[in-house]
Symmetry: C2
DNA sequence: GTGAAAGCGCTAACAG
DNA sequence: CTGTTAGCGCTTTCAC
C-alpha cells in the first residue's frame, strides 16, 4: 500500500499532532527536542511519529533557524587524489560536528568557481571551504566575506580576502627541495605545472596560484643563494593534459642544455612526467632526477621509489573544516590548529647528474 | 558599510518589490522567471534586484516547489580514487543537468549508510545515488523506493531493491581473468578483499557485497571448468588496513603450498599487496603473478607495469547521474545507456609460475 | 498583466 | 507545561 510508487504527500508535524491529539506546537517541540514538553506528551508524539513514519523536513527547519548544517566545498578537481584526501578530512570532521557537505567541482575554471560560490550561498550553506582556482581574481570570495558568511581557504591564499587559510609553507619547502637538488649537483632543474598563464614566464611573474608562485620563489631563492643562474627557461607552466605533459617532458630532456632534474607540481602531473621519462628509455635517477609534490602510496612502488614533498593533506582538510565550524558557531579560536608542515621525503629518485651533462652545460 | 562583518539580513523579494514599486507577486515572477510579467515591470524589478544585490533563497524556493535540484550521493570512501573518478562523472553530469551534489562518506559502515540516506532524504534531495556497503541489509534502500524518491545504485546491487544499477559484469570479467591466470599455468590463485564477513569463507558463501560474490563466483567457475581444485584457502576477506593487507600477503606467499598469483580487489588493496611483495624481496612476475581491479595511471609506472581489470568508472558515474536525473524529471529511458564493460588489460605482471612451485604443489 | 492572500513545514514569541 | 498566533521567503491560487 505504501509501495504505490507515486510520491505520497510527506507526513508533517501537523499530522503527528493530530494523531497524538496535541497541538502542533507541542508536537514540534517533542519532535525537534526543544522547549518544554511533559513526558506524557512526548511519548504520545514520538509514538505517533513512529507510527506515521514521520520525517522532519530539514528545509523548513533551516528556513526558520537560518541554519542548514551544511558546509559548501569548492575544489578544482575531485578526481585528483590530493583533493580526495582533503575531502575525506573535511567530511570526517564535518560529520563529527553534525554537518553535511555539498561539493562542487570547478575543473579549475574561474567562471565555474564564481558560479559555485553563488549557488552555495543561495542554498544557504552555513559556511564555505574554497580551494581558489585563482589567487588574483577574488571578487567573489570578497563578496562572501562581505555577506558575513564564514569562509576558509584551502591550499592557496587569495589576495585581498581576509580568511583563514590552510596550506603549508610552500616557499620554504620548495627552497629546501631545490637546495637538495643543487647540492646533489644539479644546475638545470625543471618545474612542470598546469597553472595557466597567458604571458610567457619570467622570474617574479605574478601567477594565478599563490601556491605555484611561492614554489617558484623558493626555487629562485635557492639558486640565488647558491650564486647560480636561474633555470628560468625550464619553468613550464600551462602544462595541460597528460599528452601535453609528456610532450613537454620530452622537450625538457632533449639537447645539450637539457634538464637534469624535474620537479612535478602534483601527483597527476607526476604520473605523466614519469611515464614520459620511462618511455624515452631514460632511467631515474641515473639519467634524470625526479621530485614531486604529494606523497601518494604508489610513489613507493616505482623503481626506484620517488622522492616526494609530503603535505599533510588530510589534516589540512580537517583543520579547514574545524576552523569553519568554529567560525559558524561563533566560537573563538581555542587551541591553535596543528602546524601544517610539508616534508621532503628522500627516497631513490634524486641522484647526481651525469658528469657529461654538467661538463657540456658548463662549457656551453 | 557592507563590510560590517555581522551577517546582515538578506534582501528578499519583498525588498525588491518595494524598491521597484510593484507587488511582491510580480517581483517574484520576474525574479523567478515564471508567470506573466510585462517588460516594463520585469525591467524595473531586475534593476532593483541588481541594485540591492538580491539573491534568491533556494531553501524557500525548494520548500514551495518541492524540488531542491540536488542529488544525494552516498559512497564508502571518497579517498579511494575509484570513487573519486565516479564522483567526477556524477558531478559533471549533475552540473550539466542543473543539479548540485551532496556527498556523504560512510567509511563502508552499514550504520553510517543508513544514517546518510536518512539525512539526505530529510534534506529533500531530489534523488539518491548509493554505492551500497551491503547488498544484503537493504531495508533503508527499500524505504527510499517506497517513499517514491528516485534511487540508483552504483557498483553493487542490493537484494530486493528494485533500482537501476550501474556496474560492470563482475562475474564475467573475473572468470575471464582467472582463466588467463590458469592458462599461464597458475593453480594457486589468491584473492584479497576488504569485504567484511563474520564467518570463515567457504565457496558459495553469501557475502555483503554482490560485487565480491560475483568475482568469487567467476573464479570458481573458471576452476571448475578447468577441472582444477578450488583454491578456497587462498580467498582472503576482511583484509582491513594497509598493515593487515601486507601481513596477509606475506602469509599467502609462504610455505610449500603458497599462492603463485594474487588478485587484488581494488586499487587501495593493490598498493599494499605490491608493497608487501616488493619488500619481501620477491619479483613480479617471476616469483608471483599479480592482477588487480581498476586501471589507475600509476599501474603503468611500476616495474613491470601491472595487468589490470579496467572498469569504465567515470562512465558509470555519468550513467548513474543521468539515469537518476531522468527519473527525477519523469522521463522515460531514451537511448539505452552505454554498455558498461570491464576489460582485462594485459601488461607485465602475469607470467608463468615457477616450475618448482608447480611440482611441489602437485607432489604435495 | 497584476495584486491580495493563502500556503509550504517548521520554529518562535507570547499568553495562559 | 500548553496552545495560539505569527512569521521564515518564496510560489501559487484566485480574483480583478
Amino acid at each position: 500500500m505504501s509501495t504505490d510508487g507515486s510520491r505520497r504527500r510527506d507526513v508533517t508535524v501537523a499530522d503527528v499532532a493530530k494523531a497524538a491529539q496535541v497541538s502542533k506546537a507541542q508536537a514540534a517541540r517533542a519532535l525537534g527536542n526543544y522547549g518544554a514538553v511533559s513526558d506524557d506528551v512526548r511519548e504520545r508524539v514520538l509514538a505517533a511519529a513512529e507510527e506515521l513514519e514521520y520525517r522532519p523536513n530539514e528545509l523548513a527547519r533551516s528556513m526558520n533557524t537560518g541554519k542548514s548544517n551544511t558546509l559548501g566545498v569548492v575544489v578544482g578537481d575531485i578526481e585528483n587524489p590530493h583533493f580526495g584526501l582533503a575531502m575525506r578530512g573535511i567530511t570526517d570532521t564535518a560529520k563529527k560536528g553534525g554537518y553535511n557537505v555539498v561539493l562542487i567541482n570547478t575543473d579549475e575554471e574561474q567562471a565555474a568557481e564564481v558560479d559555485a560560490v553563488r549557488v552555495l550561498l543561495d542554498k544557504r550553506v552555513d559556511g564555505l571551504i574554497v580551494a581558489p582556482a585563482s589567487s588574483i581574481e577574488t571578487a567573489h570570495l570578497r563578496q562572501v566575506r562581505e555577506s558575513g558568511r564564514p569562509l576558509v581557504l584551502l591550499d592557496r591564499a587569495a589576495e585581498g580576502v581576509d580568511a583563514e587559510t590552510f596550506a603549508v609553507d610552500m616557499g620554504g619547502i620548495s627552497y629546501e627541495s631545490t637546495k637538495h637538488l643543487i647540492e646533489a649537483g644539479h644546475r638545470r632543474i625543471a618545474f612542470v605545472s598546469t597553472v595557466r598563464t597567458n604571458a610567457p614566464y619570467f622570474a617574479g611573474m605574478k601567477l594565478d596560484s599563490s601556491q605555484i608562485s611561492d614554489r617558484l620563489d623558493g626555487i629562485h631563492r635557492a639558486f640565488n643563494e647558491a650564486g647560480l643562474p636561474q633555470p628560468t627557461d625550464l619553468i613550464r607552466l600551462n602544462a595541460g593534459d597528460a599528452d601535453s605533459i609528456m610532450r613537454i617532458t620530452r622537450e625538457l630532456l632533449r639537447g645539450k642544455d637539457r634538464a637534469t632534474a624535474i620537479i612535478a607540481s602534483d601527483g597527476l602531473i607526476a604520473l605523466s612526467v614519469v611515464e614520459a621519462i620511462q618511455s624515452s628509455g631514460l632511467s631515474i635517477p641515473e639519467d634524470v632526477s625526479f621530485l614531486m609534490y604529494d606523497d601518494f602510496a604508489w610513489t613507493r612502488l616505482t623503481t626506484p621509489p620517488l622522492t616526494v614533498i609530503a603535505q599533510p593533506v588530510y589534516e589540512m582538510g580537517q583543520a579547514a573544516a574545524s576552523a569553519l565550524i568554529r567560525q559558524i558557531e561563533g566560537r573563538k579560536a581555542g587551541a591553535p590548529s596543528p602546524e601544517l608542515v610539508a616534508r621532503l621525503i628522500r627516497r631513490g629518485s634524486v641522484g647526481a647528474p651525469r658528469t657529461a651533462d654538467v661538463l657540456s652545460q658548463a662549457g656551453g
